[in-house]
């Protein structure tokens, strides 16, 4: 990977992180903080978008995929949220946050791949 592409993808990751922060704040304002809908929806939308990019724009895989969408979506906060729900005694919500996100995320990425391949 050439240094310019590396730097560009890293900066795109910074932009993705800001988008995640803003979407999370916006959704929390609408839906409250009882369940972490913000990160849940960020990861589903980002997985869909990465499927789309992978299939339709393979040339932009580093910049938009690994960079922007890699920075937009997050695994660490998703795990922390599920553990926190579990510790608060919200067991079904914790299971849905962890397993539901995984299954719906796979579905979203698959839909993105299919849609991207016909575009």
């Amino acid at each position: 990977m050439n240094p310019v592409l590396f730097l560009g993808a890293a900066l795109a990751g910074g932009v993705g992180a800001v988008l995640r922060y803003l979407v999370d704040l916006g959704i929390a304002r609408l839906a409250g903080r009882r369940f972490p809908w913000g990160i849940f929806l960020v990861n589903l939308s980002g997985s869909f978008a990465l499927g789309l990019v992978t299939a339709a724009l393979p040339g932009a895989a580093v910049l938009l995929g690994a960079g922007l969408l890699g920075g937009y979506t997050t695994f660490s906060t998703a795990m922390l949220d599920a553990v926190a729900l579990w510790r608060d005694g919200e067991r079904p919500a914790a299971a849905f946050d962890a397993v539901g996100m995984l299954l719906l995320g796979l579905l979203a990425a698959g839909l993105g791949l299919v849609l991207g391949s016909v575009l």
Partner: protein, 127 residues
């Protein structure tokens, strides 16, 4: 969005750039072994552990938490590549894809819980 502070956005942007650079660097150092996404798995598990430590040490609204947690670790770990990586693996080796997905989730949850536990200040750990 009137009460979103520019300083906070800059902290997240800076951290996210650094975290993404670290993940890209790791993926260059550890290329996918036979199609298995080693670098993403490692980044995600290490990142989940570290965010647990961070959450045990710092209040959610702290600037440093925003820089290191939302920014660096948010950028270092990734969910989207975890999903597309699982689907790509599925087409070649469904059993391995299942192991990757389930293993990431179990190890990720365990790592975050362990980080929370080990990150607690000593005086309070005994309680």
């Amino acid at each position: 969005m009137a009460n979103v502070k520019v300083r906070r956005l800059l902290l997240v942007a800076l951290g996210g750039t650094v975290g993404t650079a670290a993940r890209l660097g790791l993926s260059l150092a550890l290329p996918d072994g036979g199609g298995f996404p080693v670098a993403v798995l490692l980044a995600n598990i290490v990142g989940a552990f570290l965010i647990g430590v961070l959450a045990a040490r710092l209040p959610a609204a702290a600037d440093l938490r925003l820089l290191l947690g939302t920014g660096v670790l948010g950028g270092f770990t990734t969910y989207s590549a975890f999903m597309t990586g699982t689907l790509a693996l599925w087409t070649q080796a469904p059993l391995l894809a299942f192991a990757y997905a389930a293993g990431s989730l179990v190890l990720g949850l365990a790592a975050a819980a362990l980080g929370l536990r080990l990150g607690r200040p000593r005086a309070r750990r005994a309680a």
